[in-house]
């Protein structure tokens, strides 16, 4: 469901008067084989393109070569995608020495070498978007392979300005990018989260074991699960100011990504958000047993006798004494024997019912109707 929501909002684009939705895909080291997030990136790319003829993608490739992406997609989609090649020659080494042959690259790949100059970068993206728009695609999505690579060449505020300008531009309907959280300071990551409307991150299913504990071997074998599964956390910022938190399980099978929902997660999420109350209302099992064993002061006579509570039914000890006698008779017999022994007062407690909760009659305001 989380993945469906993301794809839908990226595909739908923005309402008029709003900025385009932006998804920030976060990649981190604990989720092993950093390719997991890249797999999600590719999956999103493929699902956006496959939804119909209306959507087109401008892909800015830093991390992999453009031909890699083209080989992933079926040839029918090659017309709906334009690639900005920032992978082959980012520092302009090749073009300084050997000027590139003019008609070398296929039609939909544009080579970009001047990555320091971000306005030029922005205009190339917009040029490609206009190209696609001219071809009849009314919804153009921009996908940036890795913003981490962009930050190598340009300072943070200008990269953020570029992304914000892309969001404001009327030709762009949505935007998503990948970022490696371990390679940046926390404030850089939070700046990217600040300008995005959806934040997705991957976490390992099995956490790394605490090596101080005894049973290491069991936990290490369960770590293998991490290679095929991961937890997919999504944080959506909605228009009414509420935040929607979702968590799903991600399965990677033979290069394709499958999402399945995990039912037990919402309680984990809720626990972080409710205020921590100082007193714990729930009882653990041991506490429950202890409570059942507690002898309340009005249940015993204080003289070490067996505890017998008249609960309106025949108790075990009475039936043992005289199986044929009535209840009342049994009680008065006991009374007489007690009176012979001591002159202290006696407590006769009649329990209403066996399963009475101790505080059930506490709130007298329950029937109050204002």
């Amino acid at each position: 469901m989380a993945e469906g929501l993301i794809v839908r909002s990226l595909r739908d684009g923005s309402l008029p008067g709003e900025h385009a939705p932006a998804l920030c895909l976060e990649d981190s080291l604990p989720s092993p084989l950093a390719s997991h997030s890249h797999a999600v990136f590719r999956h999103l790319l493929a699902s956006l393109l496959s939804t119909g003829t209306g959507t087109a993608v401008v892909l800015v490739a830093f991390h992999r070569s453009p031909s890699f992406y083209l080989s992933l997609l079926s040839p029918t989609f090659h017309n709906s995608i334009r690639l900005l090649d920032c992978y082959s020659d980012p520092l302009a080494w090749k073009s300084n020495h050997h000027p590139p042959p003019p008609s070398h690259s296929p039609q939909n790949i544009t080579l970009l070498t001047n990555l320091n100059h971000l306005p030029h970068f922005l205009s190339s993206i917009l040029h490609l978007a206009k190209d696609l728009g001219a071809q009849g695609h009314d919804r153009v999505t921009v996908a940036i392979d890795s913003v981490t690579h962009m930050l190598r060449h340009a300072p943070l505020p200008s990269v953020l300005q570029l992304l914000t300008n892309l969001r404001c531009h009327e030709k762009i309907s949505s935007l998503f990018w990948l970022i490696h959280t371990d390679l940046h300071e926390p404030k850089v990551i939070s700046s990217f989260e600040y300008i995005s409307t959806m934040i997705a991150s991957l976490q390992p299913i099995v956490q790394l074991p605490d090596y101080a504990n005894a049973n290491i071997s069991a936990s290490i074998t369960s770590l293998e699960e991490n290679y095929s599964k991961a937890k997919f956390n999504v944080r959506l910022k909605r228009r009414n100011g509420r935040v929607k938190l979702l968590c799903e399980e991600l399965l990677i099978e033979q290069g394709s990504v499958k999402f399945s929902s995990v039912p037990s997660v919402s309680s984990v999420v809720a626990q972080n958000l409710i205020p921590k109350v100082q007193f714990n209302i729930q009882l653990s099992d041991k506490e429950r047993m202890d409570r059942a064993n507690v002898v309340l002061p009005f249940e015993h006579q204080g003289n070490g006798q067996n505890i017998e509570i008249y609960d309106g039914r025949r108790s075990l000890s009475e039936s043992q004494k005289d199986p044929s006698s009535t209840k009342i008779g049994g009680l008065s017999e006991q009374k007489r024997s007690n009176n012979n022994k001591s002159e202290k007062g006696e407590i006769h407690y009649i329990r209403d019912s066996d399963d009475e909760q101790p505080d059930s009659d506490e709130d007298p305001d329950d029937d109050l109707d204002i």
């Binding site: 943070l156 200008s158 989260e193 600040y194 300008i195 910022k237 958000l273 100082q278 204002i370």
Partner: protein, 379 residues
């Protein structure tokens, strides 16, 4: 590095509205001399001058409004745009009272933000009077009402019937669905600046200086208060974002400028994009510190009443105090933002079962209010 002292280090403030000596201060004399005050400014406790924040509930919580000459900081939540509601009400209130407004925002066209300002609600006199009288009666009964039933009686207002009319002029309710009239926005005393492409804050600083000097040059006697509203001062897309110390020295100079003038500055900033130590320094520089928190969907429904109408939480960290060493102690510091009938903004106390006193203690330790979702709510 000195980050600016707290409120208690500055006992006097030479703004022209405040009364420095309190010996001749009495309610009778304040009402007779209040006619010399420009509209929108009121004298409150200890002879301090207040302007309204645009939200009557917030004025009441802060003990009168925003102090003239103070800097109010609002910590934004990265997930929710509710700080814009506060800014809009603040600016609209200033425009309605004819005060000069300076707005700086991190967009290319900050003027377009003016189009979203709400216009005031025209209220019938009779309804307002009835509400105040019943509140006064409740106060006189001296009831101690259990927490479950407080929500049925509403909030007690501290305004007596004598000042009722003045209260209505001082702060107005705003209808968030209706935009402010065009001719009010086009007047000369509303300025807008964009901070997005600026590489340093010197331009903004000069603008603020000229704005404040214009305030004192007007006519001498009836110079009105001025309002400076800066949206998302440390937004990451601004060119000066990585210059932490420059931003801090800008705030310090703004504070000094505003302190000796008749202006109030409201600055909103997303605290999560700053590093922890710099964020703490920003918070220390504020005279009044508020923060906004977004509500996660559905999860808190079982704990709070009236959950569906809530937009977010407003947390009051610091309240400015003038001419007094007594700190302001609030009943509750977390309020919920709600839209009443979808048009006006109200702040309500949260209704929940009382939590043990630990919530007060740990609020102090988690006062930095980062975007971590595990921080406590203080009731």
């Amino acid at each position: 590095m000195a980050t600016g002292g707290g409120q208690q280090e500055r006992p006097t403030r030479p703004s022209s509205f405040s009364r420095v000596s309190s010996s001749s201060f009495s309610p009778a004399s304040s009402s007779s001399t209040s006619t010399s005050l420009p509209p929108g400014v009121r004298i409150g406790a200890n002879g301090a001058a207040f302007v309204s924040s645009g939200i009557p509930d917030l004025d009441r919580i802060l003990g009168g409004g925003f102090l003239v000459g103070s800097v109010v900081m609002v910590m934004e939540d990265a997930d929710a745009p509710h700080h814009l509601l506060l800014l809009r009400n603040f600016m609209s209130q200033g425009i309605v009272h004819g005060q000069s407004v300076l707005f700086a925002g991190p967009t290319k066209e900050p003027r377009s933000f003016l189009g979203t300002l709400p216009s005031p609600v025209v209220q019938k006199e009779g309804l307002k009077i009835k509400h105040d009288v019943s509140d006064v009666q409740d106060k006189e009964k001296g009831l101690r009402i259990a927490w479950q039933y407080k929500k049925y009686f509403g909030e007690q207002t501290a305004v007596d019937s004598h000042n009722r009319d003045k209260k209505q002029e001082f702060s107005s309710d705003f209808d968030l669905r209706k935009p402010l009239e065009r001719q009010l926005l086009n007047s000369q005393n509303v300025e807008c600046i964009s901070t997005q492409d600026a590489f340093d804050l010197s331009k903004l600083q000069n603008h603020c200086l000229t704005f404040v000097s214009k305030l004192s040059m007007k006519d001498g006697i009836n110079s009105n208060a001025g309002r400076i509203a800066i949206q998302s001062l440390c937004a990451p897309q601004c060119g000066y974002f990585e210059k932490d110390w420059d931003m801090l020295s800008f705030i310090r100079s703004l504070r000094a400028t505003v302190q000796s003038s008749n202006a109030v500055a409201v600055i909103t900033f997303p605290a999560s994009v700053l590093s922890n130590s710099i964020s703490k320094r920003w918070q220390h520089l504020a005279d009044t510190l508020l923060s906004i928190r977004a509500i996660p969907d559905k999860d808190l429904a079982k704990l709070l009443t009236g959950y569906q109408d809530m937009l977010g939480f407003l947390h009051v960290h610091k309240v400015a105090q003038f001419n007094s060493q007594v700190p302001v102690i609030l009943d509750a510091s977390t309020y919920s933002l709600k839209l009443q009938k979808r048009k006006s903004l109200v702040l309500e106390r949260l209704n929940q079962a009382p939590v043990e006193g630990s919530s007060g203690v740990s609020y102090a330790t988690s006062g930095s209010c980062s975007s971590s979702k595990g921080s406590l709510l203080d009731f």
